[in-house]
């Protein structure tokens, strides 16, 4: 056997090499793809956690030592949290109550205890809080004096020792050695033993512990500034605070997760763990009440998981298509190998080889290249791709290997045994596939891929549905295709030229082996079409959503409405047009004179705004025509519309006259307003007339190129007004980036792009197989036809006519499928995480890509002619005819 295997392998090295290369590539892709994706997901998870606002991912447990009456000061002596050691023990205890996955992500813990801020005697508004920190002493450097020690006895209770940040001491006007006294009851005497400064100001410790770096400044409504300083005490000082003063003490334990320890796979578990910990902690009875856990970590994770699921869904659909195409091409290579060894196997069968021996030979032959190639592919992937190996990869590689080895074996085994009616079995298999695809689509539409598989990941069967649909569509199209071709043939038979007739006749009589490459081609085109449609539609929705959120290329918000500000903005560099929206918060909606609700009134010239935003895809309604004296037309937000019942509607502001309203409709979104908010749009001139113009705030929607953000910011801010003169600028780019940027957004783009390229490669391979496999047979047919008088030129166009209909049909069908797929799967794909909540509804084809595809097809058709010319030149007419039947 081994001799036969060796000799056959040597004889069929070309086919085996092709098979091996394809297996290698498939194995590499199957392993490197998921690895890279998982690495990307993890990167995105880390980026999400690391990029969250400072401290928002911290888990903060808070509890209190309640204030006690001065007479019961010693009551708190027995409390476990009334000592530094007790706090540390509790810190460990709370952490121990976190579920293991969550616990593993926590890298730093901190515990703080602080009194409320207490006024200080002396000039100015100065307040002091005495605090104990488990970690601060390790992050500070004394610039004068010494660290605090145990309180010393004094006339009225203990005199505490504490250290202050240098900057806080400067604000308070105290220095080392000073003794300050609180105005609290009872009063505390505090000796400042030293001043400190951050040992490493750049350390990540300080943003979360600002109170140990400097005093906070608080402004009262009256404009007075209060200095809030925190002084550090030592453990004995803390103990004394607990048992010898009656004041409330706020306890906080802070647990900071490390972004580096968060993985995409753990993210859903982590979010649940946070909830569980938050539920568990308050049930502990410690001293007075159990701690409460506060964090935004779970929200951040939930949000991430949402985006992650969408990304995984989109990419899994795309990858399933790619994998199907890869398997298809692999199947083609396996079939080619089978065809190449068929004659040899027939000889062996005639010489007494059993089916098992034949199948064994074919399988051994394929295994000879498949197994090393798969191993090499996996190795190459392990060396080049980052990210952990995924079980799904091994399954995919196993499937590839089984196809590469099994298909030739089955074909070889079947060859020896001749059974009738394989076509029926094939028909049943194809019908089953179609039914499976349709049922899958139905399930997918009902259940969805993204929204309902929350937590359980992406369903592999449902992810495969689009690929299945592609294959099913391919089978149907290619079953039906011969019918119109035959009809066309009948029509063409009447024509003068023989070429179209013969070409179409040959195209309509292609055998089953010709179907597989066309299915692959259709699938490839469908995957590309799907990706490009989703991307184009996503980009469009993102663009519109950005315009909806921003209101233009930029939006300049000024806290105080002023016509001069609007003018300044209009004159800013790059501004082509600007439309102001005067906004009055806290306007009252009146119904028959009674206040129905408070809402935000926005005065805007919708006509001007619509003209300005023409061409952006943003839909802006227009004001209905009104006659002077009529009530003013108003567009209500859905939330405000619910309140606007009853007749005699009017709008009243703190300024000027009241404005009679009539309902002109509802508007769900308006730039600068949250979609769920209560607001009402009225014509700008009506609001300005009633209020006198320069009241409320203003949002100025701007369009233009190369906008100077700094200039805009200068234009809207009016420093002379202080706080009320504040302004801000939001640009299209900033908002758009928040939708599209980020690792997940990149992954989708890159994933689609790369999948498209790869699948296009597989499609090309499939077409090449059609061309090369057909070339020999076509060459023979052409040679016979040339003996009947076919000219060389006609022979050349024959290849074109024969290839073009199938190629064109498969491509067009694939493209149409790609366009229809997003619509078909509509409810199953939730793209809202990428659009700031706007659903993607309009799926639009990507015209440049369609044009590219058409160009590619032309190239292929040209290639067919070229290949035929080359093969014909190599063999020559006489050669073909002399070879005869063999």
């Amino acid at each position: 056997m081994s001799l036969l295997l060796r000799r056959t392998a040597r004889a069929q090295w070309a086919s085996l090499l092709v098979l091996g290369l394809l297996v290698l590539v498939s194995a590499f892709l199957a392993d490197a793809g998921p690895r890279t994706l998982v690495a990307g997901y993890d990167r995105a998870a880390r980026e999400t956690v690391a990029g969250a606002p400072f401290g928002s991912t911290d888990l903060v447990a808070t509890a209190q030592l309640s204030p006690v009456a001065t007479t019961d000061e010693r009551m708190r002596a027995g409390f476990s949290s009334a000592s530094a050691e007790g706090l540390a023990a509790q810190s460990a205890r709370w952490l121990g109550m976190f579920p293991p996955t969550l616990r593993r992500t926590i890298v730093t813990t901190d515990r703080n205890a602080a009194t409320p801020f207490m006024g200080l005697t002396g000039a100015g508004s100065r307040q002091l809080s005495l605090a104990f920190s488990g970690t601060a002493p390790g992050h500070i450097r004394y610039v004068s004096g010494r660290p605090p020690r145990a309180p010393e006895p004094a006339a009225h209770g203990p005199r505490f020792e504490a250290a202050l940040p240098v900057r806080a001491a400067r604000r308070l006007g105290v220095k080392t050695g000073d003794v300050v006294t609180t105005t609290s009851q009872p009063a505390l005497e505090v000796r400042v033993t030293g001043l400190f400064t951050p040992a490493d100001p750049g350390s990540g410790y300080w943003p979360a512990h600002h109170r140990y770096e400097d005093a906070e400044l608080k402004k009262t409504p009256g404009g007075q500034v209060i200095i809030l300083a925190t002084a550090l005490v030592d453990p004995s000082g803390y103990r004394a605070l607990c048992v010898r003063t009656p004041f409330r003490i706020d306890l906080t334990w802070t647990y900071s997760p490390a972004a580096s320890r968060v993985t995409a796979r753990d993210a859903p578990t982590l979010a649940e763990d946070v909830q569980r910990a938050a539920e568990a902690l308050p049930t502990v009875r410690v001293d007075a009440a159990g701690p409460t856990l506060d964090t935004r970590f779970d929200d951040i994770l939930d949000d991430f998981v949402h985006r992650l699921r969408t990304t995984q869904t989109l990419l899994s659909l795309s990858l399933a298509g790619l994998f199907a195409a890869a398997l298809g091409v692999l199947g083609l290579a396996a079939r080619l190998l089978s065809a190449r060894i068929a004659a040899d196997l027939a000889v062996q069968a005639a010489r007494g080889a059993s089916r098992t021996q034949l199948a064994g030979l074919a399988a051994g032959l394929a295994a000879l290249v498949t197994l090393p190639a798969a191993a090499l592919g996996l190795l190459a992937s392990a060396l080049s791709a980052d990210g952990p190996a995924q079980p799904v990869s091994l399954a995919a590689v196993a499937v590839s290997a089984v196809i590469a080895i099994g298909l030739p074996a089955v074909v070889a085994g079947r060859r020896a045994r001749r059974r009738a009616r394989p076509s029926h079995r094939r028909l049943v298999a194809e019908a089953l596939l179609v039914v499976l695809a349709v049922a899958g689509t139905y399930l997918l539409r009902r259940r969805g891929l993204t929204t309902d598989t929350w937590g359980s990941g992406v369903d592999p069967f449902l992810s495969a549905v689009p690929a299945l649909l592609g294959v099913a569509a391919g089978l149907i199209v290619l079953r039906i295709l011969p019918v119109p071709l035959r009809l066309a043939g009948r029509f063409l038979a009447r024509g003068r030229s023989a070429v179209p007739f013969v070409g179409v006749a040959r195209a309509s009589r292609q055998d089953a082996t010709a179907v597989l490459p066309l299915v692959v081609l259709l699938l490839a085109v469908a995957v590309i079409g799907f990706g490009s449609t989703v991307e184009t539609s996503l980009a469009r929705t993102q663009r519109i959503a950005t315009y909806e959120a921003v209101g233009g290329d930029a939006r300049a918000d000024a806290l105080t409405m002023d016509a001069r500000v609007v003018d300044r903005v209009r004159r800013s560099p790059g501004v082509r047009a600007a439309v102001p929206a005067q906004t009055i918060d806290g306007a009252r909606l009146l119904s028959n004179g009674d206040i129905a609700d408070e809402l935000t009134a926005v005065g805007v010239d919708l006509g001007a705004y619509r003209r300005m935003m023409a061409g952006t895809g943003l839909r802006i309604p227009d004001w209905p025509r009104t006659r002077p004296g009529d009530p003013v037309p108003a567009l209500f937000s859905p939330a405000a519309r619910r309140k606007a019942t009853g007749g005699g509607l009017a709008l009243s502001t703190d300024y000027g006259r009241r404005i009679p309203l009539r309902i002109a409709g509802t508007i769900t979104r308006f730039p600068g307003r949250s979609p769920g908010g209560e607001f009402v749009l009225v014509p700008a001139d009506a609001l300005a007339r009633a209020t006198g113009g320069n009241v409320g705030s203003v949002s100025i929607f701007v369009r233009g190129e190369h906008l100077d953000v700094a200039a805009l910011r200068r234009a809207v801010s009016r420093p002379e007004l202080g706080e009320a003169g504040a302004g801000s600028v939001t640009t299209y780019r900033m908002t758009h980036d928040s939708f599209t940027q980020g690792e997940l957004g990149h992954l989708v783009g890159r994933g689609f792009g790369l999948t498209g390229v790869l699948v296009a490669g597989y499609g090309t391979l499939a077409v090449l197989v059609i061309l090369f496999a057909g070339a020999a047979e076509r060459g023979r047919a052409v040679s016979y036809l040339r003996t009947l008088g076919l000219s060389r030129r006609q022979a050349r166009s024959l290849a074109f006519v024969e290839i073009a209909p199938t190629l064109l049909t498969a491509s067009v069908a694939g493209w149409v499928l790609g366009l229809v797929l997003p619509r078909l799967l509509g409810p199953a794909i939730d793209l809202r995480p990428y659009t700031g909540g706007s659903p993607v509804t309009h799926y639009v084809p990507d015209l440049p890509q369609a044009a590219g595809l058409a160009g590619g097809l032309l190239v292929f058709a040209g290639l067919a002619v070229f290949i035929d010319a080359v093969t014909a030149a190599r063999r020559g007419l006489g050669g073909v005819l002399r070879i005869g039947e063999t």
Partner: protein, 315 residues
């Protein structure tokens, strides 16, 4: 009524029936029918063909193309299954064979030689390796394989080409190697389909000689489908097939004439099938303008056949 045989009598008669048709023959085809469909058209390739070949006989099948001789050979090779009738080769019933039986049949009972080298030999094996191949499949030991392959190649006079690949051999050498391959597993029957079809006369004669040697020295029953008159004229019996039936047979005897020279006498016979049907050679019937009907008359030692003249009488 009382003469009617009872059941035991009938059973006794059934059991004691005379010898079955072709019971002793090595290849038996009885009323063989093969109908197949290509592109919806029904083709009746064999329409009740009878053929008997004795053990050790060398028979040539001749006939026009499309007469059904290749179909017959494929059936005898176990590659095709007849639609109806009886086909037995070396005791194996070709209509009722399991996959395992068929494999045993191919391995042990028959060997094939085809016209094209590609169907006979694997191009990437040497002549010796090709001869060893069937023995490998049958699980013959390495040493025995070697010895037998060498012996067979010697017998076919291509022993010196044992290490050559098919592409390095002449057409005649290829065919002789193919014969060695065919007899490698000591089959009872060798079937050859146009073995000399692509060869010139001299080479064809060599190949036929090799077949003849295999037949004589190994005692293999040999059936050759051929168009080659040289081949057809050199076997003991030539069976003509026409329209899916055996129509004529030529028997050859070797006698010595008065001067002591060997002389081959060929006598042509028409085949009389079991139902008593007889195909008259076309040249006989057209010479006498026999059409539609003939008149027969039984004489003491022959049957007379006359053209039907009754129409002429009436005219």
């Amino acid at each position: 009524m009382t003469d009617a045989p009872d059941l035991t009598e009938l059973e006794r008669r059934a059991a004691g029936r005379g010898p079955e048709y072709g019971e002793k023959a090595h290849i038996v085809c009885d009323n063989l029918v093969r109908i197949y469909q290509t592109e919806g058209v029904e083709v009746i390739a064999l329409q009740g063909l009878d053929l008997l070949v004795e053990e050790g006989e060398m028979v040539a099948l001749v006939g026009a193309s499309g007469s059904g001789k290749s179909t017959l050979l494929n059936i005898l090779a176990g590659l095709d299954v007849p639609t109806a009738g009886v086909a037995r080769v070396a005791g194996a019933d070709l209509l009722d064979m399991s996959g395992r039986d068929r494999l045993r049949f191919r391995r042990e009972l028959v060997g094939f030689v085809w016209q094209q080298t590609a169907r006979n030999l694997l191009p990437y094996l040497t002549a010796a390796e090709n001869v060893e191949m069937p023995m490998r499949f049958a699980g013959v030991g390495r040493r025995e394989r070697r010895e037998r392959a060498a012996a067979l190649l010697d017998l076919m006079s291509v022993g010196d080409r044992a290490a050559a690949r098919p592409a390095e051999m002449s057409g005649g050498e290829q065919q002789r190697t193919a014969i060695a391959v065919a007899v490698a597993n000591r089959p009872k029957v060798v079937l050859a389909d146009e073995p000399t079809g692509e060869l010139d006369t001299a080479t064809g004669a060599q190949v036929f000689g090799a077949l003849r040697r295999a037949n004589r020295e190994l005692g293999v029953t040999t059936v050759i489908v051929t168009h080659d008159p040289e081949v057809a004229g050199s076997v003991d019996r030539t069976v003509g097939i026409r329209d899916g039936r055996t129509s004529s047979e030529i028997l050859r005897r070797t006698t010595r004439d008065a001067s002591g020279r060997e002389e081959v006498i060929a006598e042509e016979y028409a085949v009389l099938d079991r139902a008593g049907r007889l195909q008259l050679p076309r040249e006989f019937t057209s010479a006498l303008e026999m059409k539609d009907r003939v008149r027969l008359a039984l004489e003491t030692d022959h049957i007379g056949v006359w053209p039907d003249r009754s129409n002429d009488d009436h005219r």
